[in-house]
Amino acid sequence: MSLVNNTESGLQFEEWDMVIEPKKKLLDLHLYDLWHYRDLLVLFVKRDFISFYKQTVFGPIWFFIQPIFQTIVFTLLFGRIANLSVDGLPHIVFYLSGVVCWGYFSDTLSKTSTVFRDNSQLFGKVYFPRLIMPLSIVVSNLVKFGVQFALFITVFIYYLSIGRIHPNIYLLFFPLLLLLMAALGLGLGMIISAMTNKYRDLSFIVSFGVQLWMYVTPIVYPLSLAPAKYKRILELNPMTTIVEWTRYGFLGKGSHDWMQLLYCCAVTAVLFVGGIIIFNKVEKNFIDTI
């Protein structure tokens, strides 16, 4: 199933634009196809954004409300009541950084993991490269993240101006960290989506697994608070590195181990490539089993 011109060797010379076959090569991503449908990706993102705030009073302001409330709750619960240390940083900016990053990752993961089920109606009636759908989820969430990140930057500038936080040059790593988050959420989400297709149980695991995962990621506490033996376990989680590096760059406190970053990149790359391969394998026949 590729749109690449396929020339058959042999006596008769025939040129076909497309060959539909049962078996597909492992990494036949038909990128040309994907590129052709790039407008669709943009339109999907636009659709998600518009349908999000249609018929609401506050419109896109809703994007702010969730992180603000989550930050307030965390500040009260973990900061004031449980009195967890936050490396001497201001509570608000510490929690907000974690909440915004985690929000992007978990939204991407949970939305991609149900991509086949949510779109089976559409996928069953028309062909377009299925990869467009998870990609559009990543980008849609990026728009949402952008809005929330602007909120974070506002708070960040406030604390910067009163001298409570000390950002450093590691801040420049943030685009890479963002890319890692997107790739991790997308890759893992695609693996799960491919499997939930057959084994529905997984979708239940995802919904509470994501919640539990947040607690093994230093969102409500700094990694430095964890005892040494648990620290090693927490560091197996690639999100730990991403959040810690983000905090180190913006707030000046956090771990910034190069080996950890390398490990995180490797895990992400494996999950991302694996996700794409599995997704591709499943996409062509999933409609028969869903």
Binding site: D17, L40, S51, Y127
Partner: protein, 436 residues
């Protein structure tokens, strides 16, 4: 003419029953078998896809060894009964699912329209949906922009273009959706039975657009329909599928004729009475039908003699015996008298037209009799379909039950060329007066 589609040995296997349960153990078993180089233990072959027979394996071949070629500019009609594999074939051609075996080679861009309005989002305006739907069907943004005005005027929704489509009437919705699809710039167009929606005017507009696409623009069209009229207007070639197998392919007339003959199960046997097991073969049940059991249907003259050939001045009685297993409050029987050739409904008659309708039926066995008055039908072959319906309970249709032949007793006044054009030949009240 060059070949634009070549299908080689296309087969598609489906697994019946519940796929969600027990598949993990089954997958492991299958995997082990594969590892040891054995055949897939669940893939039994030789089962054809016949709905009416319970197979002994839960694997069916919904398509089996389909081979065909389509030349550039052909309009090919794909015909066959429900479950013949038409839609599966279209799904494979439009890359929604892949074949289990075989290969299809295609030259040119394919646009498929299996459903009208796929991907329409109710909250978005008509304009936004045109762009979204166009992109889903494979158009680039610039392309949609270029054709935007044309699409809007074809759909006739200029006034509402900035209104969310959830506020549209269903007719407007369908018109807009078809308009987008109709303006696709592809070399090959695949259309499933989507014309069943929309009013008559819109349907003929769609058909007109499709024949323009195939005849004037010379594009290749593959079209599935149960409407032989539409097929014969639009197509020049046909493929006939049955139980997933290709029965025949060729010029439209011979294939359509073959299809009609094959589907004339009752007619060729001259059936006038159906009961018991045979009823099941004819009925197509939907919804919960536990509360209704159809016992028999028969066709008789007014002396209760079963026949299927009548003189035009005779009364025809159509009787149904059924078992009502519950109290019925809104129960209807509908009798359709259709033209055998085209399948068009000529007459529709409902139980609710009569006084019987007001009765609440208590459980028990009933017989309904519908009397078709004399001097109404003409020298044609008709077929009779039934429909049994109860609000929110069941919905049962019995298609192609009977065929009726009508003869005139005194044919000397008839002029064949006039009579053939008429669908009905009722006796009206005529008078002729000498006035000057």
């Amino acid at each position: 003419m060059s070949i634009v589609i070549r299908a080689e040995n296309i087969s598609k296997m489906y697994q019946l029953g519940q796929i969600g349960t027990g598949t993990l153990s089954r997958d492991i078993e299958r995997f082990v078998a594969k590892m040891r180089g054995k055949e897939d233990p669940f893939l039994k072959i030789g089962q054809t896809n016949d709905r009416t027979q319970a197979g002994d394996s839960d694997i069916v071949w919904s398509l089996k060894d389909i081979n065909f070629e389509v030349s550039e500019g052909d309009a090919v009609g794909i015909i066959g009964k429900n479950g013949a594999g038409k839609s599966t074939l279209l799904k494979i051609l439009s890359r929604i699912t892949s074949p289990t075996t075989g290969k299809i080679k295609i030259k040119g861009r394919v646009a498929s329209l299996l459903e009208v309005g796929t991907g329409f989002h109710p909250e978005l305006s008509g304009k936004e949906n045109i762009y979204l739907n166009g992109a889903i069907l494979g158009m680039r943004k610039a392309e949609i922009k270029r054709k935007f005005d044309e699409i809007v005027s074809f759909a006739g929704v200029e006034r509402y273009i900035d209104t969310p489509v959830k506020r549209y009437s269903s007719g407007m919705y369908v018109r807009l959706a078809f308009a987008v699809a109709a303006h696709l710039d592809s070399e090959i167009l695949i259309v499933d039975e989507v014309l069943a929606v929309g009013d008559f005017e819109f349907q003929s507009k769609c058909l007109g657009k499709m024949s323009e696409v195939s005849q004037k623009q010379g594009r290749t069209v593959l079209f599935v329909s149960h409407n032989m009229d539409a097929i014969s207007v639009l197509c020049n070639k046909c493929m006939l599928l049955k139980n997933g197998m290709m029965i025949d392919q060729g010029p439209k007339d011979s294939i359509i004729k073959q299809y009609l003959e094959r589907s004339d199960k009752g007619g060729s046997k001259g059936l006038v009475f159906i009961d018991g097991k045979e009823i099941k073969e004819y009925t197509d049940k939907m919804g919960n039908h536990d509360s209704f059991e159809l016992l028999s249907v028969e066709m008789t003259d007014d002396k209760s003699v079963r026949r299927n050939t009548f003189y035009s001045d005779e009364i025809i009685q159509v009787k149904c015996k059924f078992n009502a297993c519950d109290h019925y409050s809104d129960f209807r029987i509908v009798v359709f008298i259709k033209d055998r050739g085209t399948g068009h409904t000529i007459i529709l008659s409902q139980l609710s037209d009569s006084e019987c309708y007001n009765h609440v039926l208590a459980p028990g066995v009933y017989e309904s009799v519908c009397r078709i008055p004399p001097n109404l039908l003409t020298t044609r072959e008709y077929k009779i379909d039934f429909f049994f319906y109860h609000t929110n309970r069941f919905n049962i249709s019995l298609a192609d039950a009977f065929y009726i032949n009508i003869k005139f007793r005194d044919a000397k006044y008839l002029n064949a060329s006039f009579e053939d054009s008429a669908l009905l030949r009722p006796y009206f009240d005529w008078s002729i007066n000498h006035i000057e």
